[in-house]
Every structure is written in C-alpha cells, then in structure tokens.
C-alpha cells in the first residue's frame, strides 16, 4: 500500500529491509541526535565498560585453553624450572597458555591488565560521580546499580586470578577460607560447602570457574544494561556553565560526533591495554609454582582492588577474640569483616542520607563543582583516606623493605593513620573548599588580580583587577546553596528524634557555608563603576587569523 518511492542504493535497501521489520527508523529518529555533554571526567565509566568488553573478548580466547580441573598431572611443557613437577591440571593448562600456545601469553596479560583497569576506572568513575553530586535524584538507584557493579567487578577479579591455582592466589583462597571458617555458627559449614570438603579440596577451581565465566559476567551484563538504560532515560548530567540548566543538556549529538569519539575511544583503551600487555609482565604464575599449603612467598598480596580487605586483616589488633559460652568468635576475622561491610553500607546509602539531610526533592542534572559542596567533598575525602590507608596497609611489608623501616612501626603508624587520617582529611578538605569558594567570590565581585600596580595622583597605590566576563561570572555564581534546617514541631506539636537528628546533621553539613554572590552585593561592589563597565563582552576576543586558501 506504500506509495513512497522505492529505495535505490544498497544502503537504502538494507535500511528499508530492517525498518520494515525492526522499526529502526524510529530508533534513529529518537536517538540519532541525542545530546551528550563532553567532559573528560565523563569518560571514566566508558573506560570501565570498554575494559569489560576487552575482558569478554580475551576471556573467550582463554576459555578455549584453560582447564579448571584440580586433577593431578606432571608438567612437561617448555618452562624448565617446573618440568617434571607435580601440579593440578588448572595450573598446568595456565602454564601451557603462557608458554606453549601462540597468543596465549598475550591474551592472558591483556585479560589481567584489563581486569585491573576495569575496577580502577570504575572506582575513579564512582569518585567522580560522588564528588560532583551526580548521585542525586533521579540517579540514586543508578548509584546503587553502580555500587553492585563495582562489587561484582571485585568478585570477577578475585575468582579470575584464583583460577590458575598458583601459590600466590592459592594462599589468597586459604585466607578466604580462614575468614569464612571464623564466621560464627555457620563458618565451618560454609567453608565445607564452598570447597566441597576440607581445604583445598578438588572442587573449588571448577566452582570459581563457573562463577567467573558465567554467573558473575551475567550479573555484570544485566546490571550494566540497567545502568546504561538509566543514563539514556535520565540523560547525562553536565557541569554548570553558561546556557546550562537543570532542564536542559548541552553537548554534542550522538551521530556523528559521539559515535566517532566514543567509538574511537574504545579502540584507544583497547590499544593502550594491548601495548601494556605486550611490554609488561603481569601475574607471572610460573614464578610462584603450584599451590601447596606449605610454601609461601614473601610479599603475598591480592590484586589491588582486594587490597583494602587484606589491609583490614593486617591492621586489626590481635588478642581480641571473644569467648562466648565456650564458643570462639575470632575478632581478627570478624572485626575487618564488619568494618568493611559498614564502610560499604555507608557508601551505598550515601545518596539517601544526603537527600534526607537537605530535604531537596528536585531533580538535579547540573553537577556541583566539588568546592561548592564542601561537607560532601570533605566526607568523600575522609572516605577515600580510610580506604587508602586500608589499601596501603596491604603492603606494609613491601613498604618496610623499600623504605628500610621496621615492619612493626609501619603497621602501628597505619593503625593510627586509619583513625586520625580521615578526620584530618575531612578537616583539611572542608577548609580548602571553603577557601576556594571565598576565592571564587572575590573573583566574581572584584575580578582577577592582574599584578599591575598603579599609583594614583593622590599617592594611593592600587592593583588593577580585571573583571571577569559574563560567562566566567555565571560559572562562579551559579551553584546550589543550602542552609541548615530549623527543627520544627510536627503536627502534634512535638519535635521528634528524627527531626532533631536531621537538624543536627543539616547543621553539620551547612553551618559553615559561603553563600553565592547575590545581586545586591554585586551591584554594591560595582557601584563605583559606569554601568557599561559591568563587562558584557567576552573577555577573549577570537583571534582574527587570515586563513590562506
């Protein structure tokens, strides 16, 4: 019944074929010119996503060669110092991939470097989201999805590096087993269930394999799909600036700019990982030998993203075991476990806490410059410090050797830092943010100091300040400012405990604040100038360049 003209070109015919079945025209219309803001800090999540794709690609190669079996075999491959050694098939197949299969070592290294980069970029992305307040409504749920993505990434990494069953990762499994056994009541049973009996057993590598190639990737893919869907529905946030508001998004259209840039970026991330994998050794499993419960290497650490948990185990004080009616609760295990879970809980719940404190129910699509949310930024700095001290705590022995210090002093210093570090970081960050805000005010009101000093006829010296143009000025003054909540009685006339807590948290957040420059203030500051001097022209004039043909 169609009376429109028939497509002539090959592309046209293909497009027509697909549109007649999949409504692609509509997809192109709605999404083709979608606007995405352009800032480098928005690309960190992309780095994580691309690393994940690279993990899937390199991982698929590895699944054709790796054998997750704990059956015993004698190694007869190319690596001389292990020839004739007894080991599991898992370790032996990993050695074969590394030494005797072309491309095997490269793919193994790509896989492992990409894994490290995946979690690192995801973590940095989370930090960016936190410090710019991108987790506020409507993105609280996406924060939770991202949180679980990060945990799934850690799980994928841990299960992955334990697969070769080498001495280093095997000791990591031993530590996990020790931690599980320490859990009250159910510990030993869960340990037996996980390992299929006593440690190390003959089941665990195959089970980790199943988790690593199927279950956890499925979870990641599902969460990633939800994560991206929400970005499409909510549209991406953008930094404050001229023309940018909460009810628009400023940037470039998806086609062609973003397809080229983001598509190109995938190749760049992959290329960087490939270059690193071609030149730097990672996880040299042949150095560690097959897992055996008796030997152990000095400098036994997990991959970096598990480091904070290992650090928690090292920093926990000893002699704290509880004995309850003849039962033992090993606090060397439970204390790190509980502290880590609490930390994670605070991270997950943060958007909801902040929303409750501010009482702000509006949607936020304009990001905060970190200095304009001093308490949030300071809390973030404290959290990062806490995590970083735990993370550094995992390398106490390496720090001691490298800096020629006493291992015991390093550890004690870190235990102290764990407590005072976050407090110091909070205080320093908060004051720095407030100072930066004050500096912004100064510039907004009085312009930039030029360093040019002029002597007036009557003898006074002044420094010339260059006023900022309207675009700059807008950026300096356009931020959201909150004041502390007054506790008010509810309709029964009582001030509830919840209200009191909320008011005191609100005071904690917003009592020290630098208010944005108001219209009156600005006019007063410029009262002595002619109205036309309230600069309307852009500060930088575009250069007039004679273009040669």
């Amino acid at each position: 019944m169609s009376t429109s003209t028939e497509p002539q070109t090959a592309l046209g015919k293909t497009a027509n074929y697909l549109d007649e079945r999949l409504t692609v025209g509509s997809v192109l219309k709605n999404f083709g010119r979608k606007v995405f803001p352009d800032h480098w800090s928005f690309m960190l999540g992309e780095v994580a996503m691309y690393s994940f794709v690279i993990l899937i690609l390199s991982g698929t190669f590895l699944t054709f060669y790796f054998q997750p079996s704990m059956a015993h075999t004698i190694y007869e491959g190319s690596y001389a110092p292990l020839k004739g050694a007894e080991m599991t098939v898992a370790y032996s197949s990993s050695l074969d991939i590394s030494f005797d299969i072309r491309g095997g070592l490269l793919m193994r290294q790509v896989h492992h470097w990409a894994a490290l980069l995946f979690v690192a970029s995801a973590g940095l992305h989370m930090l960016r989201v936190f410090f710019t307040g991108a987790f506020r409504k409507p993105r609280e749920l996406n924060w939770l999805v991202g949180f679980f993505l990060f945990l799934a990434g850690m799980g994928a990494g841990f299960t992955g590096y334990s697969l070769p069953d080498d001495l280093l990762s095997g000791n990591g499994l031993r530590i996990i087993d020790g931690m599980i056994k320490g859990i009250p009541v159910i510990g030993p049973s869960v340990s037996s269930g996980f390992f299929g009996g006593e440690f190390p057993g003959t089941e665990v590598i195959a089970r980790l394999y199943s988790l690593h190639i199927m279950i956890i990737p499925a979870v990641i893919i599902a969460l990633l799909a939800v994560h991206l869907m929400m970005v499409v529905i909510h549209k991406h946030t953008h930094y404050p600036g001229p023309g940018r508001r909460d009810d628009n998004v400023v940037g470039y259209p998806l086609m062609p700019v973003y397809v080229a840039k983001a598509g190109g970026f995938f190749f760049l991330v992959f290329g960087v990982i490939a270059a690193i994998s071609a030149t730097f050794t990672i996880n040299p499993i042949w150095n560690y030998g097959p897992y055996d419960p008796s030997p152990v290497s000095a400098g036994t650490q997990p991959d970096w993203y598990i480091g904070w948990l290992d650090g928690a185990l090292r920093l926990a004080p000893g002699h704290l075991d509880l004995h309850v009616f003849g039962f033992v609760i090993p606090m060397g295990v439970m204390l790190p476990l509980v502290v880590s879970l609490l930390f994670l809980a605070v991270v997950a719940a943060y958007p909801f806490i902040e929303a409750w404190v501010t009482g702000d129910r509006r949607e936020h699509h304009l990001l905060d410059r970190p200095r304009n949310a001093p308490t949030r930024t300071a809390i973030g700095a404290a959290g990062v410090t806490f995590y970083a001290v735990l993370w550094a705590g995992a390398s106490t022995d390496l720090i001691a050797v490298f800096f020629q210090m006493s291992l015991n002093h390093v550890l004690t210093a870190m235990q102290i830092l764990l407590i005072i570090g976050p407090v110091l970081a909070y205080w320093i960050t908060k004051r720095t943010c407030l100072s930066l805000q004050r500096k912004d005010r100064e510039i907004a009101l009085h312009g930039r100091e030029t360093g040019r000093v002029v002597r007036l006829p009557h003898g006074e010296y002044i420094e010339i300040h260059e006023p900022v143009d309207k675009y700059e000025l807008w950026k300096l003054v356009d931020f959201k400012d909150y004041e502390p909540i007054m506790p008010r009685p509810n309709k029964n006339g009582r001030i509830t405990l919840g209200t009191k807590i909320r008011a005191s948290l609100s005071k904690f957040y917003f009592e020290d604040r630098i208010a944005p420059v108001s219209k009156t203030e600005y006019e007063l500051a410029h009262a002595d100038q002619a109205p036309s001097a309230a600069v309307e022209e852009p500060k930088r004039k575009p250069k007039q360049i004679k273009a040669k043909k």
């Binding site: 800090s41 780095v47 470097w113 490290l116 730097f280 150095n287 970096w304 006493s406 291992l407």
Partner: protein, 262 residues
C-alpha cells in the same frame, strides 16, 4: 691338556689382612672424599696465610669480635663459624660492620680476595666450622625443578618466590638474591648469617643446595616471557602501575579527546 687337579686349597696369607685393611681404608677414605668432595676445601690454609689472616683480624675485627675471636661487646664469638662465614660476610661487604641497627647491609667490599682468604683461614683455624664450598658443587648444572620446589618451601617466605627479597620484623629483612654469587648463596645457607636460619647438610644436602642455586641462577639469567618485570614483587607493583601509568595515560587521552581542536 691335563687339568691340574692338584691345586692346593686356599691358604691364609698373613699379608692378606694388611692388603684388605689397606684396600678398605682407600675405599672408605676415597668414598668419603668422593661423597664430600662438594663441600670441603681449604680445610686448613698454610701457616703464613693463617698468620696473615690473624694480623688482618687484629687490625679490623678484634675490636668487636675480641682479640682471639671469642666475642666482645660489639660482636659475637667467631669460634666455630668457619671459613664460609668469613668468606660470606667479608666477601659481600657486610663486614666490617659499620652503623649499628637491626641488620647489616651489603657494602662495597673492603678487602682483596687474598686478604679474605687469609682471614677465613685464620677464623677456620680457631675451631672447625663450615668450609668454603668447592667449585664442583657450585656449578649450576643441578635440577632447577627440584631446586625451585625446595626454594619455595625453605626460602621463599623470606626472600620471595624468585628471590626479590622480603621483610622480617623490627627493621630486619631478607635481601634480594639477584646478582649474588653462587658461592655466597651456598655460604649463606650453610652458615645462617644474622637471623637467617642455618641450613645444615642434613636439612638441605649439598645436592639440594646445588639445585636451589641452579634454580636461582635460571631465574636471574632468563628474562620473563611476559616482558619487563615490575620488580617481581607481585600485585602491588601491578596495581600501582595500573593507577599511575594505565589510568594516567588513558586520562591524558580523555582530556585530549574532550578538548576543543585548535
């Protein structure tokens, strides 16, 4: 041809006992020498060498170790430590000890080989102790697989799986084994310097020690197939590299990507 059926029966000959004893001594002595050929050399030096060693000792060591090596406030007794200890400690520059602290550090060697040999002879003359190993046992033609297995069980917990070194308590450490000579590795095992345990020949036989040294030299001389090693200290270096260089370079790319073209 008639066979001689009038052979006299076997008679004892008096000198036969002497022959048997002589042969027995050669067999056992030679056998012993053969079995321990890997270990004992330079059991006693010449008298001149010992005297030379004594003079060097008095000049450089006696203030801490006592004028007869009996020990003093600055240093322990050297009676029974053997030539191997001296060859190791002085040969790696650890001795003469300088700054006091939790552990001795390797320093530039202060004596010539002859002087070290002289001091070693002198100390060995004080009382029997571990001797400097022979060249035979130091040849790296042992079994690196067996050596690696033994190294991981007995040594890796302090020195790291490939001998990159590691921490002990209170500022002490197990040094890196990279570049350490076969002789010094052997001597360290047999003498147990400072807090390193002693690995006597019942614990690790001379063959075992040879295998361990063979393994260490293999690792030292063969570059990693994966490319540049980040110090062989494991995931910590890899994590730091990822954050600093991996993310660093990628962020540099993102900044370039987001910046406006000229």
């Amino acid at each position: 041809m008639e066979k001689n059926l009038n052979k006299k029966p076997m008679r004892r000959r008096p000198w036969a006992l002497g022959v048997v004893i002589f042969l027995g001594l050669i067999a056992s002595g030679g056998g012993y020498a053969f079995a321990t050929q890997g270990v004992q050399t330079n059991v006693t030096g010449s008298a001149e060498q010992i005297e030379e060693g004594r003079k060097l000792f008095l000049a450089n060591c006696a203030t801490c170790h006592g004028s007869n090596g009996e020990g003093a406030i600055g240093g322990p007794s050297l009676i029974g430590v053997g030539a191997a200890s001296v060859d190791f400690q002085v040969g790696t520059g650890r001795m003469p000890g300088q700054a006091s602290g939790p552990q001795l550090y390797k320093k530039p060697v202060q004596f010539t080989e002859e002087q070290i040999a002289a001091m070693a002879s002198y100390v060995a003359s004080l009382a029997p102790g571990p001797a400097i190993p022979s060249e035979e046992i130091l040849r790296t033609d042992g079994d690196p697989t067996h050596g690696g297995e033994l190294f991981r069980i007995n040594c890796a917990m302090c020195h790291n799986a490939v001998g990159a070194g590691g921490a002990l308590t209170e500022g002490k450490f197990a040094p890196s084994l990279d570049g350490v000579t076969e002789k010094h590795i052997y001597e360290a095992m047999i003498t147990g310097p400072q807090n390193m345990p002693v690995f006597n020949d019942a614990n690790l036989t001379p063959e075992d020690k040879k295998d361990i040294i063979t393994y260490l030299k293999y690792v030292e001389q063969n570059d990693s197939v994966g490319g540049l090693e980040l110090g062989s200290i494991g995931p910590v270096a890899e994590g730091l590299f990822t954050w600093i260089f991996g993310l660093g370079f990628i962020i540099a790319i993102t900044v370039w990507l987001g910046a406006k073209a000229n």
